[in-house]
């Protein structure tokens, strides 16, 4: 799924992967997750402490309360919020990435489990993404860690590739997520009810754009969008598995998530997270490499105008 030459000892699915894909996830996914959490952290005392409403401990664990975690003191809740924001930004910037991504993953896991009322796809998927970054060599390039390494070891050569699992995990996760969603929708109402999307346009998620579209676009257009979405999700292994179809899948996926983001208010953060993962996983490599390398060159040259080692690092 990459355009760069593979190392001689590997090929196909197990080929080495360009590091840009992994670093793109590391750079931007934490920001989407923090964006989602921001509106909750503003009132963190209403989330994690007894200042707000707390669901009592249930006698038996179920899907709503898989693990009971008691409320924490207000000061600790603020500390958790600050630590999550700090570790999220540090992961994004690539500062002590191994440690910060581990802390970020741990805190996201706690926040998702602490209270079902605030557990959404973004913080559950976000936990998995942060854990995957923790277990990968993320931060080896386009990061503060890489920048510091170049300062310490002027002759160092920064990584260009990672082992296949570090990228294939995200790619496979996306494809199987879409496929599962498509099957669930097909088993649900999306084949039998032509107004499945239309029916979701009317509640408190509705934005001005949704309302405008709903009254300006013929009802049949939403039915067409519904079947296209279903075809996209059910066909995900095809769209992303066949190289010639990948750009079509990418374009449709990005458009679909952007549309969902602007039509369903708070869902914007989920849409952004999915768009970041989609782009990192399946965009042509040059679309990732050029902006990343350009930005890296500018940053390192600016930061180290007088340092030949940084200029060398900028050239990669």
């Amino acid at each position: 799924m990459s355009e760069r030459p593979a190392a001689p000892h590997s090929a196909g699915f197990a080929a080495l992967q360009p590091i840009e894909r992994l670093e793109f996830v590391r750079l931007f996914a934490p920001l989407a997750i923090l964006g989602f959490l921001a509106s909750r952290f503003v009132h963190v005392e209403h989330w994690l402490t007894t200042v707000g409403f707390v669901v009592p401990q249930r006698a038996v664990s179920d899907y709503r309360q898989p693990l009971y975690i008691p409320p924490i003191p207000v000061w600790l809740a603020f500390l958790v919020a600050i630590a999550t924001v700090a570790s999220g930004f540090a992961t994004s910037l690539g500062y002590r990435t191994r440690w910060t991504s581990g802390v970020f993953a741990g805190l996201l896991g706690y926040l998702a489990l602490a209270d079902r009322l605030e557990a959404f796809t973004v913080n559950k998927l976000g936990t998995a993404v942060a854990l995957a970054l923790f277990a990968s060599p993320a931060g080896a390039r386009f990061s503060i860690d890489a920048w510091l390494r170049c300062q310490r070891e002027p002759d160092t050569r920064l990584a260009t590739h990672v082992h296949w699992g570090n990228v294939r995990f995200f790619q496979a996760l996306l494809v199987f997520m879409y496929l599962a969603s498509g099957i669930a929708k097909a088993k649900g109402d999306w084949l039998s009810d032509p107004n499945a999307i239309w029916s979701h346009l009317h509640d408190s998620y509705q934005t001005a754009f949704t309302h405008f579209l709903a009254i300006a676009v013929p009802g049949a257009a939403f039915t067409v969008f519904q079947y296209l979405t279903l075809a996209y999700e059910l066909g995900a292994p095809l769209w992303f598995g066949v190289r010639r179809l990948r750009l079509v899948g990418l374009a449709f996926g990005l458009t679909m998530h952007a549309t969902i983001g602007v039509m369903f208010g708070p869902v914007i953060w989920f849409s952004l997270l999915m768009m970041i993962l989609l782009f990192a996983c399946f965009a042509p490599l040059r679309w990732l490499a050029r902006p990343l390398q350009g930005a890296w060159a500018k940053i390192t040259e600016t930061a180290g105008a007088n340092s030949s080692s940084l200029a060398k690092a900028a050239r990669g």
Partner: protein, 203 residues
Amino acid sequence: MARKARRSEPKKRKEAASAIQVAPSPGPRWLRLGLGVVGALYIAGVFIEGAGGGRLDRFVPRPVLFFCQIAALFPRAATYRIEYRAEGLPCQGPAFEVDVRPFFPIHADDKESRFDRALHFYRNDRPTMEALESYVMDRYNLREQVKIGGMLFLSLRIPIPAPGSAFPRYERAPLAGFPKEQRKVWYATARDVVNRRCGGGDP
């Protein structure tokens, strides 16, 4: 020409290979393999949970399974527009709407509010509804002059407009404006409990 190109091919491949610098994955080989297996199992869990094909809760601990439940958003069409509301039961006089938004400031105006989520997930769970009643009642009585001795939690089931028809922009309207047939009561404090709470003066 073709022969020349063929001769230069191994050289190019060698150059490309030497330009490749692989960032090592952390940990020893057995750990990396283990992590690979965990990753594959996680993806399988996401797929099975999303597609609804299995009962993974029989094998997988619930806290782990929780993180696999991320696919399959909105598989069903909405039959109504649902809104959750609350009414206060005063010591004297009829019930009246209590605006709970100040007590649930996180996403107060949309369905990601903790009040909406509590009713969405736990509306049939009496202990949680009692805890919610106590929380809302306490907060309300602290702020308002007219005290309440009980709560009523209900959902509004508002019909969805016909496809393609014009309809007004979503707006939260007062509960009094909705007909009785659009209301579904999920929890109500018994009258004798309200009377008992009101018995010793204001609750």
